[in-house]
Structures are given as structure tokens and as C-alpha cells.
């Protein structure tokens, strides 16, 4: 008997994607680079590098260091700015057919709002993802995402500027994930990306200096996956909007863990650096798993976790 090909179609509230495998912001450039290359077309969607209104030069080197089962980075949100993105990359992206979610950030609510209203008028974009882990200049540099009240106002402000699908990429530390998630969905977001990198450090013991120029960096890679998996499960159990998992996926099994725990889609991040074939490997791995377990649609897989106690608020 011929096996039916399972439907990997992924419905994230208003947004429908052909599959649940996404490229995470900051690990796939603006979508036009050699990496991910053609594989970008097979992705459910590609989330761009974070874009701000004005170009940003980024942090001094060293910006990255490898750590056990992962890496720390402090790129410093280097990007070419909104207008250069629209002028140089968006035309290529439209021509390519790559499904694009634009990741944006600002230092003030006003900057986020202007980014959202400018992107609202561009065709060929699927949605926005707000990076709320950047410093809020009006709050002494404390990240927007680390204060649920500030986050709520920010999401509400952006929501008023755009009708596009709007995801909030939550900070995993410095805040109770569920509180930040609730602040975001109550402000009208369409999805929650759980999560971002975790603040971390590494020290060069010979020099007695930090191994990242600015002292601290964001930890990514398989080292963080159990931490993020817990947050994904916790948020997905309560959230009325889809959760998009992001943290340490290095093989198909990792993505399956997230989907089973309740994520509607999974972003692949820094794992792509060591394995340029990872997007396809994850996609095919999910397909094989569904065939093996006789699942015909992704809904049968998402949130199929059994044996966990109920979450209490």
C-alpha cells in the first residue's frame, strides 16, 4: 500500500505556511545570502536579521565565542537599516518567492511604530517579528521584553500601526516567560516566538578578560534547548496564540520535541552554521516521523505531549 504523504501545512492563526520549519533571525542574513541559499525556498518562512530604522555598526570584536554545545554572541544588532533593506534586499526576495518575516527592533516605542507602519505598505512580506530584547533608552537600557507592562504598551502601539501578522520574540531570562507572553497576547499579537538567546559570559583565564568584547553575550545552541523547551511548553499550554519555538535545534528530533511540547512552528538558528543542510534535514525528519507515526496533518503532532502535569498560573 502506498503511504500517504503527510500534510506539513502549518496554520499559525492568520498565517498559513507550507511547513513548520523556519530560519531564525540573525542566522540567515537578509535571506539573499549564500547561506541559506536555495534551501530558503523550502522553508516555511525565513525571519530576517533584526532591522532598525537607521543602520547600526554593531559591537567591536570579539563578538562570538564557542561554549560547550553552543556559542555566545554579541553582534550588537548590526544591520543596514530599513531603507537599505527595502532598496537592496526586498526586490530580490520578492523575485525569489522566499516567504519572509521581518524581524524589527528599536530603542523607543516610536521607532518600532515607524518600522511597522513603513513595512505595512510593502508587498511581499508575510509578517513582523518584534525583537524586544534590545535596550529601551527611556528605561535606562532595560530591555522592553523584561518588563511585562512596558512590553504590553509596546505591542499595543505596534499593533495599532499594522494589520500584518505580528509575532513577539520573548526574552527568556530576566522575566517570567508566561507574564511576558500574556502581556503580548493581551496587546493583540498573533504569535509568540519562544525564545531568544540567554545572557551569558565566558572568561579567558590567561588574560583574565571576558572573551566577548562587551563582557556578556547571548547563548544559543543545543546547550539552551532544555531551558527553552520548558518555556515553550509552559507558554503553549496557556497562550491563545501560536508559539513559535526557537532555541538550539540541531536535528529533526529537536524540532519534534518542540512541536510535541506545543509549538506550532520551529525556528532553526545557529545550528545551521555547522550544518548547512540542517533546514532540509529537519523538514525531512519531521515528514518521516509523521509517516512512521501515521499522522496525516501537523495538528496531530503539535501539542501531542502526554504525561505532563497541568500548568498553574
Amino acid at each position: 500500500m502506498e503511504e500517504a504523504r503527510p500534510d506539513l501545512g502549518c496554520r499559525l492563526k492568520r498565517l498559513t505556511l507550507p511547513n513548520p520549519v523556519l530560519a531564525a533571525s540573525g542566522t540567515a542574513g537578509y535571506g539573499t545570502e549564500e547561506l541559506p541559499g536555495r534551501a530558503a525556498l523550502s522553508l516555511g518562512a525565513l525571519v530576517t536579521k533584526g532591522i532598525s530604522l537607521e543602520p547600526r555598526p554593531g559591537n567591536p570584536p570579539p563578538r562570538i565565542v564557542e561554549t560547550p554545545c553552543g556559542m555566545l554572541n554579541a553582534i550588537g544588532l548590526q544591520n543596514i537599516g530599513l531603507e537599505a533593506f527595502l532598496g537592496e534586499h526586498l526586490p530580490l526576495l520578492r523575485e525569489s518567492g522566499i516567504r519572509i518575516i521581518v524581524n524589527v527592533f528599536g530603542e523607543t516605542e516610536e521607532e518600532y511604530a515607524r518600522l511597522a507602519s513603513r513595512l505595512e505598505t510593502q508587498h511581499g512580506l508575510l509578517g513582523l517579528e518584534l525583537n524586544v530584547s534590545c535596550p529601551n533608552v527611556k528605561k535606562g537600557g532595560r530591555a522592553f521584553g523584561r518588563d511585562p507592562d512596558v512590553l504590553h504598551l509596546l505591542v499595543k502601539r505596534v499593533r495599532a500601526e499594522t494589520s500584518m501578522p505580528l509575532w513577539v520574540k520573548l526574552a527568556p531570562d530576566g522575566v517570567e516567560p508566561l507574564e511576558a507572553a500574556q502581556a503580548s497576547w493581551e496587546a493583540g499579537c498573533d504569535g509568540l516566538t519562544v525564545a531568544n538567546t540567554y545572557l551569558g559570559m565566558a572568561v579567558d583565564v590567561e588574560q583574565r578578560r571576558p572573551r566577548i568584547s562587551i563582557g556578556t553575550g547571548g547563548l544559543s545552541g543545543p546547550a539552551i534547548r532544555p531551558l527553552t523547551l520548558y518555556r515553550v511548553w509552559k507558554v503553549a499550554a496557556k497562550a491563545p496564540v501560536p508559539v513559535i519555538a526557537c532555541g538550539g535545534v540541531a536535528c529533526a528530533k529537536d524540532a519534534l520535541e518542540y512541536l510535541i511540547a506545543g509549538a506550532g512552528a520551529v525556528q532553526v538558528g545557529s545550528g545551521i552554521f555547522g550544518n548547512p543542510g540542517l533546514y532540509m534535514e529537519v523538514l525531512e525528519g519531521i515528514r518521516s516521523y509523521m509517516i512512521k507515526h501515521r499522522m496525516s496533518s501537523l495538528e496531530q503532532l503539535v501539542g501531542s505531549l502526554e504525561g505532563m502535569p497541568r500548568v498553574s498560573f
Binding site: 540573525g26 542566522t27 540567515a28 542574513g29 539573499t32 545570502e33 549564500e34 547561506l35 541559499g37 536555495r38 536579521k49 555598526p57 554593531g58 559591537n59 567591536p60 570584536p61 570579539p62 563578538r63 562570538i64 565565542v65 564557542e66 561554549t67 560547550p68 554545545c69 553552543g70 556559542m71 554572541n73 553582534i75 548590526q78 530580490l92 523575485e95 525569489s96 545552541g221 543545543p222 546547550a223 540541531a250 536535528c251 545557529s270 545551521i272 552554521f273 555547522g274 550544518n275 548547512p276 543542510g277
Partner: protein, 275 residues
């Protein structure tokens, strides 16, 4: 620029087979890799990202300049040699590879040495960094190599394999070791200053590769003598193909950064903000 033109640059990722691995000097290994077309388009000074296994630890691939393509006269483009020093767990793991083992090789990547045949190269290499300069010597036609000056320095006299290799390829080589057991007793910079009247000609161009402090001093020296100078910058890298922006190199004047993996690793020395 159209989309189809843009896709002209395809991912150059291959599964390469280890042909040979040998310790050429204490802690430094020569690794010969074979894969269809692996070095077909390799230019001197370019690099490869190597990863030994699809495992979480080590997590990232490691960048290595290539050393040689192989035996002269049989440059089929299906073989490339890498020289590496064991410094951490990634390189320790690489050193345990055996002939027949496979590893993932992405490359050749980046912008390498820009050699104008009208120029006379003066190569200055420190330690294993000199490997990138060996690739330049190999790409210079054999009849022109006797015009090339190469200065190679290392902390120990037994760490000068690259210098011996450049000599074998036909370059004029001067060695320096800080323990004094081989060649000049001192640093390669001291040797450079001492021999400069011999080394500098009308068409001399300097090519330097080694630790950042050494490159800075070579660049300063070259500028003060009015010599053009190219430097190969070593930085930590994650992706090797320009998307992660991890390998930033500060560019003079602009306040901005270039990517060692795309705009480099070779830069004109005046492009770099050395402070």
C-alpha cells in the same frame, strides 16, 4: 542584479575524505583532503570551514586557510592541504582524524591575496599563520618564485616548517626563532628591520599573516617605507559565509566593520583600524 544571477554563488559544501594527516612539527598537523572539485577554484589566501562531525560539541566549524593544492603539475582541483595547530577541542578532534575518515568542508571562502605579477612579493609570516603565504608561493609561476622573499618567524626553531616549505617551492627564505635554534635569533619583525635594505626593491609589495600585533607592526613598517601591504586577519568565525556578522574587523575611518569571511580575510593594511 537579478535573482538568477544572485544564485550563481552556490554553497560549496562537500564531504571530504582525509587522505593524509601527519604531525610536521610539534603540535602542528598537515591534513590532506580529497573531494571532487574542492580546490578547483581556490585562490591563495582563501579559507575553508571544517567540521569533523554532526555533533553538538564542538558546535561550530573552524576556519583554516589552505596551504597547498598538491604535487606540482598535477593540480586536478580535487585535493587541498590544510596546516593547523592544536589549540582547543575543535583542533584536537581534527588531529585525531585518520586517513579514510570524512569531514565536512565548506569552501573555498573569502577574498584572498591579490597578487599583481608586476610586483615582487615580500612575505612575512608568523607561526602557523604562514600557511596562508605558502598558498601564495604555490600559485606564483615557478620561474618567478626566486624573486620572492619570505620571512618566517616562530617562537621555537622547530616551528618553522612553513619556511622550509616555501624554500622547497623556490622562494628566498629567511627564518627567525625566538629561541635562536633556527635562523635569526629574535622575532620576524626584528629580522625584517635588520635586513630591509636587502629585501626592499622598487616593486616590492608586502603580504603578512600572523598574530594581530605582528600584523600591526608590519603594516606600520610598510607604511613608513611607502610599500603597499596586504594582511590576512584571523578572527573567530561562526558561519564563514557572511550571515552571522561574528567575524567583524574594524575598518579605518568609517567607524564600521567589515566581515573577515567576506570582505577578507585579506585586507589592504590601510583599510584596517589597528587601534
Amino acid at each position: 542584479m537579478s535573482w538568477s544571477y544572485h544564485w550563481g554563488a552556490m554553497m560549496k559544501v562537500r564531504l571530504a575524505r582525509v587522505e593524509l594527516i601527519t604531525e610536521v612539527q610539534p603540535g602542528t598537523f598537515l591534513l590532506a583532503l580529497a573531494a571532487q572539485g574542492i580546490s578547483q577554484e581556490a585562490k591563495p589566501g582563501q579559507f575553508y570551514m571544517l567540521k569533523t562531525a554532526q555533533e553538538a560539541d564542538p558546535f561550530l566549524p573552524r576556519p583554516f586557510s589552505w596551504l597547498r593544492k598538491g604535487e606540482e603539475g598535477s593540480l586536478g582541483g580535487n585535493r587541498v592541504e590544510i596546516l593547523f595547530q592544536v589549540v582547543g577541542k575543535g583542533t584536537a578532534r581534527l588531529a585525531r582524524m585518520r586517513p579514510g575518515d570524512q569531514l565536512q568542508a565548506l569552501g573555498p571562502l573569502g577574498r584572498g591575496w591579490q597578487w599583481d605579477p608586476a610586483k615582487t612579493p615580500l612575505l612575512v609570516g608568523g607561526g602557523v599563520g604562514a600557511a596562508s603565504l605558502v598558498s601564495l608561493v604555490e600559485c606564483i609561476p615557478p620561474e618567478k618564485r626566486s624573486c620572492v622573499w619570505a620571512l618566517v618567524g616562530a617562537r621555537l626553531g622547530k616551528q618553522l616548517w612553513c619556511g622550509q616549505e616555501m624554500s622547497r617551492l623556490g622562494a628566498r627564505v629567511l627564518l627567525a626563532s625566538q629561541d635562536g635554534l633556527e635562523g635569526f635569533h629574535g622575532t620576524v619583525l626584528e629580522l625584517l628591520r635588520r635586513e630591509e635594505s636587502l629585501l626592499i626593491g622598487a616593486e616590492t609589495e608586502v603580504f603578512a599573516c600572523g598574530p594581530r600585533e605582528m600584523l600591526k607592526e608590519v603594516a606600520t613598517w610598510a607604511a613608513s617605507r611607502g610599500l603597499p601591504c596586504q594582511v590576512s586577519m584571523e578572527t573567530p568565525m561562526a558561519c564563514g559565509v557572511g550571515v552571522c556578522l561574528g567575524c567583524a574587523v574594524k575598518i579605518s575611518g568609517s567607524g564600521g566593520y567589515a566581515r573577515a569571511c567576506q570582505e577578507g580575510p585579506v585586507f589592504r593594511s590601510e583599510e584596517i583600524d589597528w587601534d
